[in-house]
């Protein structure tokens, strides 16, 4: 039980996919200007990422490994993720056009969100079983959403600040992201405590 807890805590905080692994920076910077979009993107990514880890585990274990096709991992994972993203986009477009509007270009971009590809690959390299994979995927997704939402909150506030001209926009956002990563270093070592 504690083992699973450590995987989850590790994925959410200690090895946060954005701030520690530095994956998925594109949506992290792109969709964090407003809290609402951050909520939407977080939810969409959580869904896609969890689905993707599950699907890729199944593909890997029941299709690729039995036929000795491990070298096709990246390719087949990308295809799977792309399909899941497409499906998600269609569902969102139907159910919530405003969310689709606000997410804009970033929804299809989940396809190329390296976090979504990275997490299933990390699962394989960590040798996780199905439940562990799902937990790790969900944990990473929660970590991503958490950080995205907190970041959006800070950016909304910083937008009103007298940031020096040369640092407005992405520059100060990068500085903020750096300081956030610094704060997250405080979690270092927590997943190794026995």
């Amino acid at each position: 039980m504690t083992h699973y807890l450590f995987i989850l805590v590790g994925a959410v905080l200690v090895n946060n996919v954005v701030l520690v692994k530095i994956l998925g920076l594109c949506p992290f910077m792109g969709v964090s200007k407003k809290l609402e979009t951050a909520y939407g993107m977080g939810a969409a990514t959580t869904f896609v990422l969890t689905m993707a880890t599950g699907a890729s585990y199944i593909i890997d274990h029941y299709l690729l490994i039995p036929f000795g096709l491990e070298y096709l991992r990246t390719l087949s994972f990308i295809v799977t993720i792309a399909a899941i993203v497409q499906m998600t986009e269609m569902v969102i477009a139907k159910t919530s056009p405003t969310l689709q509007q606000t997410l804009g270009i970033y929804l299809p971009l989940i396809t190329t969100n390296c976090a979504v590809l990275g997490v299933p690959l990390l699962n394989i390299s960590n040798g996780y079983n199905f439940v562990e994979s799902l937990l790790f995927g969900a944990g990473s997704a929660f970590g991503f959403s958490l950080v995205l939402i907190l970041f959006a909150g800070i950016r909304e506030r910083v937008e009103g600040a007298d940031v020096p001209v040369y640092f407005r926009g992405s520059a100060i956002a990068m500085v903020t992201a750096g300081l956030m990563a610094l704060a997250f270093m405080g979690f270092a070592g927590l997943d190794k405590y026995q």
């Binding site: 299709l63 096709l72 390719l75 087949s76 499906m87 269609m90 139907k94």
Partner: protein, 192 residues
């Protein structure tokens, strides 16, 4: 052999996923373009045609299709361009024409001959009158589009900038230099 197997498996995957996507695209089909409405919401609805389109909606449609630039609407001003740029994720561009202050058309009622030409030209029904009778502008409805100017045969319509009055007066953004203002008031009391 291996390569054939790989191709077969990938093809199988492609077929399965393709079928799923195809099904979804039918099941979750969306009609209409919500973007046009959003763009139209930003446009000022003066219907002036200065953008080269007959009204705001056609311009909105053209923007949504990506056929034209977003800086063709002088009544919307730079603020409008900024909003469009934010909505569409495009670059902010300087306005094509210069920005004018808000204005209202005024008919010189002594000169008006009652030809109804301006009434027909007004896109927003802001002019009232009948044939051979004096016309007048319903000022609150006028968008200041100037479309009534050219058709008037006697040139009795002029545009006037809407000045500040107690109804549309706005509190200004606070400034720090409060002291200078007070000093200005000083001589007035001395005179008294």
């Amino acid at each position: 052999m291996d390569i054939l197997l790989a191709i077969a498996i990938m093809a199988l995957g492609a077929v399965v996923l393709g079928a799923a996507l195809g099904f979804a695209s039918v099941k979750f089909k969306v009609e209409g373009d919500p973007l046009v409405e959003k763009i139209e919401g930003i446009l000022p609805q003066t219907q002036c045609g200065q953008c080269g389109f007959p009204g705001c909606k056609p311009y909105a449609e053209a923007i949504a299709k990506g056929e034209v630039d977003i800086n063709l609407c002088p009544p919307g001003g730079m603020e409008g361009v900024q909003k469009l740029a934010d909505l569409l994720g495009r670059e902010v561009k300087e306005l094509e024409a210069e920005e004018k202050p808000k204005q209202v058309a005024i008919i010189d009622e002594n000169t008006c001959i009652g030809c109804t030409l301006c009434i027909q030209a007004c896109p927003v029904d802001a002019i009232v009158g009948a044939a051979k009778q004096m016309h007048t502008i319903i000022a609150p409805l006028c968008t200041g589009c100037e479309l009534c100017l050219p058709p008037c045969p006697v040139e009795c319509i002029r545009m006037e900038a809407i000045g500040e009055n107690l109804d549309n007066w706005k509190w200004k953004y606070p400034v720090i230099e409060i002291k200078t203002e007070m000093r200005k008031a000083a001589p007035m009391m001395k005179a008294a």
